[in-house]
Symmetry: D3
Subunit: 236 residues, 6 copies
Amino acid sequence: MRLDFAGERVMAVVAHPDDAELLCAGTLARARSEGAAVAVCVMCRGEKGQPARPIRNLGAVRRREMRAAAAVLGAELFTGRWGDGELMDADAPRVFLADVLRRFRPTLLLAHAPNDYHPDHRAVAAIADTATWFSASRGRITRWPALPAPPAIWHMDTIELHGFEPGFYVDVSAWMPVKERMLACHRSQLSRAGDSEFSPLLPLMRAQAGMRGMQAGVAAAEAFRIHATFKRCRGW
Amino acid sequence: MRLDFAGERVMAVVAHPDDAELLCAGTLARARSEGAAVAVCVMCRGEKGQPARPIRNLGAVRRREMRAAAAVLGAELFTGRWGDGELMDADAPRVFLADVLRRFRPTLLLAHAPNDYHPDHRAVAAIADTATWFSASRGRITRWPALPAPPAIWHMDTIELHGFEPGFYVDVSAWMPVKERMLACHRSQLSRAGDSEFSPLLPLMRAQAGMRGMQAGVAAAEAFRIHATFKRCRGW
Amino acid sequence: MRLDFAGERVMAVVAHPDDAELLCAGTLARARSEGAAVAVCVMCRGEKGQPARPIRNLGAVRRREMRAAAAVLGAELFTGRWGDGELMDADAPRVFLADVLRRFRPTLLLAHAPNDYHPDHRAVAAIADTATWFSASRGRITRWPALPAPPAIWHMDTIELHGFEPGFYVDVSAWMPVKERMLACHRSQLSRAGDSEFSPLLPLMRAQAGMRGMQAGVAAAEAFRIHATFKRCRGW
Amino acid sequence: MRLDFAGERVMAVVAHPDDAELLCAGTLARARSEGAAVAVCVMCRGEKGQPARPIRNLGAVRRREMRAAAAVLGAELFTGRWGDGELMDADAPRVFLADVLRRFRPTLLLAHAPNDYHPDHRAVAAIADTATWFSASRGRITRWPALPAPPAIWHMDTIELHGFEPGFYVDVSAWMPVKERMLACHRSQLSRAGDSEFSPLLPLMRAQAGMRGMQAGVAAAEAFRIHATFKRCRGW
Amino acid sequence: MRLDFAGERVMAVVAHPDDAELLCAGTLARARSEGAAVAVCVMCRGEKGQPARPIRNLGAVRRREMRAAAAVLGAELFTGRWGDGELMDADAPRVFLADVLRRFRPTLLLAHAPNDYHPDHRAVAAIADTATWFSASRGRITRWPALPAPPAIWHMDTIELHGFEPGFYVDVSAWMPVKERMLACHRSQLSRAGDSEFSPLLPLMRAQAGMRGMQAGVAAAEAFRIHATFKRCRGW
Amino acid sequence: MRLDFAGERVMAVVAHPDDAELLCAGTLARARSEGAAVAVCVMCRGEKGQPARPIRNLGAVRRREMRAAAAVLGAELFTGRWGDGELMDADAPRVFLADVLRRFRPTLLLAHAPNDYHPDHRAVAAIADTATWFSASRGRITRWPALPAPPAIWHMDTIELHGFEPGFYVDVSAWMPVKERMLACHRSQLSRAGDSEFSPLLPLMRAQAGMRGMQAGVAAAEAFRIHATFKRCRGW
């Protein structure tokens, strides 16, 4: 069985600059190689992800890092300006994301799972749910025209697989090198490998993609669930 | 088996002017015919439900429509003034609804399911949970006296049955004509039948009530779940 | 809100002679007082429920006890002959129960929850599911005519509330005396109060009905869930 | 998004002669049109599906009907000889199905959901789980060589959508005519349209595929879930 | 089996002054007796818990009551200043609690369940999730140094056991007297025993600990679940 | 937090000779080192786990292997004689296991999860549930006296973590060497490393214990859930 992304427009909306790398970059890379247009929307600046030896202007550094990663992927990049830990399901980010959706016009939106570990991730799940609805609401007038219909939503895996039952697995074995090259762009975060407050990113990414791959009978996989709600599901 | 609504005071709290019609109007109509007092509280103005050919003063138009529908039902109507897509679980709507509860004094509150498709629906679920508690809290002093106990809460079905496991089914077969007459009052929305952003209301309502009816062995049904939480459950 | 059992025919199918007393006798008593016909079908003989000082012919003793309890309730009694711990979801008990259903012709069957603590309870859940289907299958020819439709199924609470989320609560406050008088008929089991292998029955029954009552805002309640499956649900 | 069945070998294992039509025939027809080999394995004879005016030799009649339906689909047909309501998760049907799997060598097995309404359906779910494991076990020696790996399993929707949360939807809009032509082969069952014991098949099929289609934004869909267990999942 | 709290630092974060007594005081008392340091953080003032005969300066009264109860327990006490029913998952309480965590440096945080009955309880669940993450984030600079790792989180039982499946039970039989002495400090609330809006506290506490004890084979127990999320779980 | 196994009697009941190694041997080894008595009961012979080059008398070979592994662990070993794939929840294995329980007299029984991948594993879950009840039933007379109370049950993780939400994690970091030495005894199975039908055992064990360890903040962990049912839970 194969999922075919040809002709789709796939956007991932994530909280922090390196979340897409951990949870869905393989799927995006594969979608692109199959002919889809891809984009990443990062809501927060990542300015609190400080290594032991703090980096000045970390927000600016991380913006460069995410641009580099998006270039590796060949993805359009949208960036919000919320501070780390300050993203809430509120009007401003809803409207921001709805407008990003009206600009990129995705057919599929990958969003954090509602029960992921970080408040910004959980906020993204809620904002994505709302913004997809807003994006196609004609009564909501902005600079961009309303979409004919909201994009479908898939929820991404949680960090370390906590409390996430996969609805299906996307085989990303052949795209692990892209995923790793993208992650390598986030040098500020890779330097945190010895910190006790997070987990070293590369082993974490490999362990997660490897375990999902084992479960799915392939070398590496990313896990998703459809978001079961009105107008955000599709027949495949 | 029959649920008997005699002597109850049943209120539905919904997000938008036509939500009650889709999800619980049959139950309200039946409750009334069995001797219950019924009410509908609509939190949002519905001003963004624009058809392809926009309607001026849509908010005012929809207010007239919901008044007409409430008259068909014989229900008291309470209306909030929140904009579509702007309802949040916050102090103002909590207090507003708690006061509505103190005025109507329901024994049963029908509220949206916490996982329904629209942010305003999800907000109603949260606000209803809170406001029922506030309504009976003596330390919370307003113009109306505290209720002796919070009303019970039932969660209504989700639009298109997504992710909703019915706890029980109310047979509304004999009240489908009322439900349809109420829906017919929402002319501004029926004119959106050809829009891609929502679904034509009448077929949607019939498909949903018909499928719930099939599941329950009757012509038409509405599905609910009790809200399993302290002081909001009742023995029947 | 009130559930009205008038005109129904309610049967409970349980594993052992005193299970109905613990889990649904209040509902049966109330149904009868509201005009329903009621019945109890006990699948096993109860011959292994030995007190510390063993009783001779325990099976016969328990049969007398359950007859006395059924008389208190005013219920028709059907008894299987399976040994305790020997009931399996197999052809013989399926056919036995299907025929009991064809004889009593219930509109509602109360059955153990599929995850209750005892293998015989779990077997009853499976057998009830199957036998209700068989009871209305015209191609299945026995001495009794097929029912026009299977009865609805409600699953009863588990012993000590483990892993059971109530779908709704039946107020049995006024029928606790009947429930207690029925339990008092099971003298062989009440004599086991000091055994470590079970729990003293009367305190167990009161604690369970009392806790379900607290949750439902009444003095005593019994908890149930509908069995969500084709033809075994009803609109109320 | 599109699921691509090219190169797959898809088998459905169902309890009764017309179950595939109701729950997965659209997917099989589509898979075949995309280049997959397809098969249906029917475990029971269907001999108890008697209309009001009983049919002689109903088992033989139904065998002809399922052959005709399989011919419409272009599927290989395997048939068990179990009586209706007599299928259990036991050694004989496990071995039978394991051998069918070794003969057809599917890459994907569609099987009933473990909580579907009929004991034979639930038995199929359990047998499929076991037989897929057996099919690839080299220590289990039969006339056919072991498969290199078990097929993946997808669970099919339940009849009338009870208690089934779709993991994903297959768009079968273009294959509804095949599905309906297949169903039309089951004349013995279509004659049961007026019976109270089942539901008229054609409206049931249309209502179910139509509601799943509504949920998925297409004219008609069939819903499935992956079976989350060792070696029976795949990366797509 | 025994859980050993020696060497731990256990903090409970609750919404109102008497919540710890109801849901986790036995565990705290036991942890302390086994050599753990314990603390309680109460987020709200409790100023709306008015008995029928209102108390002046109820907030101040309740502060004295909670201090007395903390003294009985031998716990450090931290108090927020939010009004009852005004606690939201927002920046201020997140930062407040993160700083409390940095001061007490717990290894384990007991927090309300996300589905408990009161909006302030649900807010505590969300705030605790966030604040534990913040507490160990080095990029988040406050007067106290970041923790080396977030504490583990356990969710406490809900009031009256609604919708809470215990992950495990802590035997508090020997600490019921402490729990009761602590509760006795909350005289302002005990005087509400006859109010219809809450439940008399002492019987409620005993019924809940007694039922959890029955389920766990001990005289009294408190039930918890681990919070399954990144960095907030521990191997025991 | 630490679970203390001192004074316990812990038995694991598994389907096949090497299942304990994969899923619970670390916990057993740790329990023993803390002063618990430990035992393993293997229900099936393992005679179908044939490597590519078949082994004669594989059943006898595997018996030697499990004896060696039990010796490494210092565990008492009980062995059933069921063929692989032939274990059913039926009277004989229920009685067999109940008697094993009466002989070893465990306070805690580790059993496969009810949804694990292999029919024999699922059978063990059901048999364990029943046999623990039988073991303490005085009316069930065998050569060994009834236990005073059934042991508690913990369900073990599933192979590859499919569909298993940990209730808690046991830190087995220090016992991985024992676990590996035990696995090394199963030479017949290690020789299957290149087979497509299973997964190489050592990497599988390491990946699983490593991922559970990551989730729990330790080097290696084993995951369990309590079995929430009458008399099989304990307060810790």
